[in-house]
């Protein structure tokens, strides 16, 4: 299958993937101390007291957090910290028990997911949602906003939407070329490899010219060769003036491209700051290693070991 077509380039897989050019970090994003919930100079997304419980479990309980505009913000935290749940709440895919949040000054509480997307806050999913039995091109065209032909009655009169369709097609082809998917445009999306689907999903999100792109684990299951191009693409979003908020487990990636890091643990925001500073924060180390990491950890060794490795990576990188 075409999964073999993924370029298995010369980059040795052992090397941590880095963007091809050195990213320019945006600094001076916050006002005052870099503490959880600190104010930003120009916030695009402001979250207040958003809480979501599943039965007795409080998955998300965020008192206050602001996402800076025009920067790449990483949302990190150990498994089960509530990162994806927060994503779902902010994009209207899930409803919080209470709380309010604004995007670009407009309240989003109770706004359905499709309207959130129309406002310019576009998300991708942790488990890629390529529309398998649509061609790659159709996937892309679906992302375009305000299409005349998407009205059932106007759909019957092609002359009303043909020009718009051609414009969208040209734009889609341009994006596909940038994402190196243009040769696959007439293939079913189901024939793409996992990494290519991630690329397609990101390209599709860009069809609507969003202002805030929310990426849920964009690197999960992507091979190192593609990771590099994905990193470049995310950096490009910033240089084109978009704001990026992404959930990620890969600490190398966070360190390399994020301008700001928000750390969640057990549903709360426990730390915020510059990617290099925040890793030294004791609250972050606690979150990853558990608060009793100096004591005997009898249970759940697997998860602990995973977090220890993640932490070690961080500390190694720091040296």
């Amino acid at each position: 299958m075409s999964a073999n077509a993924v370029p298995q380039g010369s980059t040795a897989p052992l090397e941590p993937p880095v963007p091809s050019q050195k990213p320019i970090k945006t600094t001076g994003l916050h006002i005052g101390e870099a503490e959880p919930g600190c104010a930003k100079v120009d916030p695009i997304l402001v979250v207040d007291n958003v809480r979501r419980t599943f039965g007795g479990l409080t998955a998300v309980d965020v008192e206050h957090v602001e996402v800076p505009r025009g920067a790449i913000t990483a949302l990190i935290g150990p498994n089960g910290a509530g990162k994806t749940t927060l994503f779902n709440l902010l994009t209207g895919f899930d409803k919080p028990d209470d709380g309010k949040w604004t995007f670009d000054g407009r309240s989003l509480a109770g706004v359905p997911a499709y309207r959130v997307a129309r406002m310019g806050q576009i998300r991708t999913f942790q488990l890629t949602k390529a529309l398998g039995l649509l061609t790659v091109m159709d996937n892309m065209l679906l992302g375009a906003k305000g299409q005349t032909g998407e009205n059932m009655f106007r759909a019957l009169l092609p002359f009303l939407w043909r020009n718009q369709e051609e414009e969208n097609r040209a734009k889609a082809l341009d994006l596909l070329t940038r994402f190196k998917l243009d040769t696959k445009k007439d293939d079913y999306a189901a024939s793409l490899s996992g990494g290519q689907r991630k690329l397609l999903e990101m390209a599709r999100a860009l069809m609507s010219d969003p202002t805030l792109v929310m990426l849920d684990e964009p690197m999960a299951g992507v091979n190192p060769a593609l990771t590099q191009s994905l990193l470049d693409h995310i950096l490009n979003l910033k240089s084109q003036g978009m704001t990026v908020l992404f959930v990620e487990h890969d600490m190398h990636m966070v360190r390399h491209i994020a301008d700001w890091v928000i750390v969640m643990a057990e549903g709360k925001v426990v730390a915020e700051g510059d990617p290099h500073e925040v890793m030294k924060n004791p609250a972050v180390i606690d979150a990853y290693l558990g608060q009793h990491h100096d004591e005997d950890i009898g249970e759940d060794l697997g998860a602990e070991a995973e977090n220890v490795v993640a932490m070690k990576e961080l500390l190694d990188d720091e040296r």
Binding site: K129, M152, A155
Partner: protein, 326 residues
């Protein structure tokens, strides 16, 4: 064995109004199931609303043909809204449960004695054909050739029925190649992804449910015109026959339901004629004529199974679509 009669009886079904009605109903189901991924198991209910809406409007209220037509279509739009409003926000399988139950409720409402003066209860309704026949521009006489020779009324009915099928097929073909159809097919693949791209998935699913339902309703009217309206015609088996036709032709295709319906009815008629004559001729000594009448459905079932096994995408379906397991 009169092979000529068997084949000519089978050929009659090729363009019979019933075949047209099944084709149109299957086209509606293609919109629901093939393109949008809505599991509508109540197409028989939509057809019943069309047939009864048309017949009652003419018999009880004395409406003209176009008025009766609009009543039937209006009834099915309301029916689709009632089904869709509570269920389209839920997972797909809920719609299946609700539609199969709602179609039965519709049928039982038409069967109950309480409304016998309007619905004719279990005996159904008849005598509503004059209004349609009065619109016939064809002079008395016989039209067509060979097995396709019919009197003026039957020819008129065939012309109208197949014109509607062709119009509906063009309509479906056009909307499905438009951006609207792209959203609809996207919803079939993954509605959350489509929602994340800023499309009002609920509204699109509702439009699709109404559109396919109206096609089913018009099919119900065509189905009623060559016969009487009897509630037992609109059982769940009718829905399953239409599903069989749809899968035979190819679920997400325009020509599939039409050709599927022709094959289905020609096969059914062929087996029925063949078995009846074979029993008569003593070829099947273990079988009575009544049992023979049922055997045709078994044979059609076998034929459909063979097609689904050896051509699972249907006749017009795209083989590539099946290369990817979802």
């Amino acid at each position: 064995m009169d092979w000529g009669a068997i084949f000519s009886n089978a050929a009659v079904e090729l363009i019979s109004p019933t075949t047209a009605a099944y084709a149109l109903a299957a086209l509606g189901l293609a919109v629901h199931f093939g393109y949008t991924g809505l599991l509508n198991f109540g197409q028989a209910g939509f057809m019943a609303l069309g047939a009864y809406g048309y017949a009652i409007s003419i018999l009880t209220f004395g409406f003209p043909v176009w008025g009766a037509f609009l009543v039937g279509v209006g009834a099915s739009v309301v029916f689709a809204l009632i089904l869709g409003i509570p269920t389209l926000r839920l997972r797909a399988d809920y719609l299946a449960i609700v539609t199969i139950a709602a179609a039965e409720i519709v049928r039982l409402l038409f069967t109950t004695n309480t409304f016998a003066s309007v619905t004719g209860s279990a005996n159904g309704l008849s005598g509503y054909k004059n209004e349609f026949a009065a619109l016939n521009p064809l002079a008395e006489g016989s039209y067509g050739f060979g097995p396709f020779e019919n009197n003026a009324y039957d020819t008129w009915l065939r012309i109208v029925a197949w014109s509607i099928v062709i119009l509906a097929a063009l309509l479906v073909w056009q909307v499905m190649r438009s951006p609207w159809g792209r959203v609809i097919k996207g919803i079939r693949e993954d509605e959350d992804a489509v929602r994340a791209l800023g499309k009002n998935v609920y509204a699109y699913k509702m439009q699709s449910l109404v559109f396919g339902g109206v096609l089913g309703t018009i099919a119900g009217m065509i189905f009623a015109l060559p016969r009487a309206v009897v509630p037992s015609n609109y059982q769940t088996t009718l829905t399953f026959f239409i599903y069989a036709i749809l899968l035979l032709g190819g679920a997400a295709t325009v020509l599939g339901p039409i050709i599927g319906s022709m094959i289905f009815w020609v096969l059914l008629s062929f087996f029925s004629g063949f078995v009846a004559r074979a029993v008569e001729a003593g070829w099947l000594p273990f079988m009575t004529a009544i049992q023979g009448g049922q055997l045709r459905f078994i044979l059609v079932g076998v034929a459909i199974m063979l097609i689904v096994i050896f051509r699972p995408q249907g006749i017009f379906g795209n083989k590539k679509e099946l290369a990817f397991v979802r």
